[in-house]
Subunit: 136 residues, 2 copies
């Protein structure tokens, strides 16, 4: 029996039987959301309640309006965030975490806390590595 063979097949969603590695790609797509700096930031900010577009933009301070738009679209597409338009003048749009989004925030927070707790080790390791590599 060969070791588990991970097949990251492209978008060609082939029939591969049940319990297959198709799931891998799906899981990976969620992980990549977490890897996306802006997405996690937005999710964390929305944990306190709904926010407006420019409100988020100001809070993050460094994101372009383009990236904020794309980020929010992605989160909305994944069902993590709802987008509510108030047809007033000037227009107002509220973004709010869904239950799914709040659920995702839990393991993400756990991961973030681990990262925070081990930052010294990691940065130490980086320095050591760079030092070794830099002067050989």
């Amino acid at each position: 029996m060969e070791p588990e063979h991970i097949d990251v097949t492209a978008e060609t969603g082939l029939p591969r039987g049940p319990g297959t590695h198709q799931d891998c790609r799906g899981v990976a797509s969620v992980l990549s959301r977490v890897g996306d700096k802006w997405s996690v930031l937005v999710i964390m900010l929305l944990r306190d309640g709904p926010r407006r577009f420019n409100e988020l933009k100001r809070m993050i301070n460094g994101i372009s309006q383009r990236m904020l738009t794309l980020t929010l679209r992605g989160l909305e597409r994944d069902g993590l965030v709802t987008r509510t338009v108030f047809p007033t003048i000037p227009p107002r749009v509220d973004y709010e975490l869904t239950d799914l989004g709040r659920g995702l925030a839990v393991p993400v927070m756990a991961l973030g806390e681990w990262a925070f707790a081990h930052l010294p080790e990691i940065e130490g390791a980086r320095n050591d590595f760079d030092a070794r590599n830099g002067e050989g």
Copy 2:
């Protein structure tokens, strides 16, 4: 009091006082590792014990040798993986998870399990979104 202001300042590591948002960047750098498809895959594969370079390459099946090299270098740099060279002919290099790496695997697994459990919801949301957007 204004809402929490997240400043994702660039690499200009400024003095910002203690308990500052500098940590944000550090945490983000760890999260981005998780977002990196290959890194997570490699970590998961290494949980069963050390592996050789081409062994990993075959198991992953789809990664270029270049990306595997870069991925392993990154993991090594962060102190998540050790690289052991056996000066034989032909050469042999073993990669193994460190305790730090095994520690990271825990919250990552939790995240992965959440993702797996909620894949149907997420993919359903995506389909709905795409349908709404596609035919307006």
